[in-house]
């Protein structure tokens, strides 16, 4: 099959060059996700690139909201308009459908969660950073624990210890089925939820990061090959397309994390629903 041979020839050439030491060389995974400490090294307070991203994810929304709220007018314009739109977005798309009108007290937490995750994610496509803060397990795990503590706390605050009874023994279920339902509820509600929250965010961002690294390494490597450089006509647009895709994923994952946290809190507030 000459067509197949034509297709596989560049790949064979590519592989052959690789064996010679000048071909495709992916960086080891620790180079993709592990970053050296900047200061306070080898201490529990070691500050590295990820910690810096967390700092930026804290500072940027604070500055934006401070500027927007400094001379807030009844008719919003400019930055005030943008920040109020984000506020409305969290209220209308996250709090109202997931918790209801009494969920506005959780607005600061959900806003913080959304912006902290979103800005941390955006570093994936910001030149010179090119690493989402949430492609490391630290922040997703911490945020998932916050969400976990929050929804259990809300449930206990509003229903006392009866919250656990309502969560583990849902009303309307035949008693014999509790043998099956209660362990499932225990696992899904109190154990798997935080784990799935953290892993969903972390895995999506890490996968996107690896995808972009893969295409970047491919493009850079192909640049050195005179014949195979033509493949860059396909791989470079793919890199650009995936960068746009990851921009969307960065927002989407922040939205999903906030929404699920709100859903869990809403479930704890109204367990009968």
């Amino acid at each position: 099959m000459p067509g197949l041979a034509l297709l596989t020839a560049p790949i064979a050439l590519f592989a052959a060059e690789g064996e010679g030491g000048g071909g495709l060389q992916f960086p080891p995974v620790e180079n993709l996700v592990i970053w050296p400490d900047w200061f306070l090294a080898d201490t529990p307070f070691a500050f590295n690139k990820i910690a810096f991203m967390s700092l930026v994810a804290f500072v940027v929304p604070v500055i934006l909201f401070l500027i927007a709220g400094r001379k807030a007018k009844a008719v919003p314009t400019g930055l005030q308009n943008v920040m109020e739109s984000s506020l409305d977005f969290i209220e209308v798309q996250v709090i109202k459908p997931a918790i209801g009108p009494d969920g506005m007290r959780y607005l600061p937490m959900l806003m913080s969660m959304f912006f902290f995750i979103w800005i941390g994610n955006l570093f994936e496509i910001i030149p010179t950073a090119h690493m989402p803060a949430n492609a490391r397990m630290a922040n997703p795990l911490m945020l998932a624990i916050v969400a976990w503590v929050m929804f259990i706390g809300v449930g206990v605050k509003h229903h006392g210890l009866g919250y656990f009874k309502e969560a583990l023994f849902p009303p309307g279920v035949p008693k014999a089925l509790y043998l099956l339902v209660t362990p499932i509820e225990l696992l899904s509600t109190f154990i798997i939820r935080p784990f799935s929250l953290a892993v969903r965010l972390f895995a999506n961002m890490l996968a996107g990061h690896i995808l972009l690294v893969t295409f970047s390494v491919l493009c850079i490597t192909l640049w050195g090959f005179q014949i195979l450089n033509i493949v860059n006509l396909l791989s470079f647009p793919m890199l650009v397309a995936f960068t746009g895709f990851e921009f969307m994923v960065a927002f989407l994952q922040a939205f999903i994390f906030s929404l699920l946290t709100a859903v869990y809190i809403g479930g704890a507030l109204h367990p009968a629903h």
């Binding site: 306070l40 590295n48 804290f58 909201f65 401070l66 709220g69 913080s112 630290a138 911490m142």
Partner: protein
Amino acid sequence: MLLAALNLLASEGGEKAVVNPVVPDSIGEIFWGTVFFFLLWIMMRYVCLPPLLKVRDDRKNQAQADLEAAAAAEAQAEQVRRDYEATLSEARQQATQTVDEVRASADAERGKQVLAVETEIAEQRQAAMVELDQARSTALGALKGDVTDLAAAAASKVVQSPVDPAAVRTAVDEYVNRSGGSK
């Protein structure tokens, strides 16, 4: 390509400790992430959101107040319209009543005047009839005299002797009275 990467990872795994990215391996990242997230939460709760929420609530209250004022103004306008229509209706009713009264009064006056005129006409006619009767009586009297004279003269010629004028007069009177009574 991914396989190549995995192979590279596998080959390097033999030399170095295996990196498992799922396991959080840096306490510092968790520490700083926690610190910055809770700082962000606190800032959002007490500093960043209150001004915007206040402006938004003020705007909502202002809009609500404006809507209520508009509704009140609309209700007031409706009340004014109702009052106007009531006044207009009352004026129309009064005008109709006045027209009816004037019409009734005019009718009464016209009836009165017509009656007066008719009475006057009747009186005049009666007077005219009286005059007419007098004139007729006078004419009849004169006519009777002439007819009596003619009849007496004619009868004298016919019988070749003088007739009694009184008898002729009686006969003419009877005839004239009979003829005038039939008219």
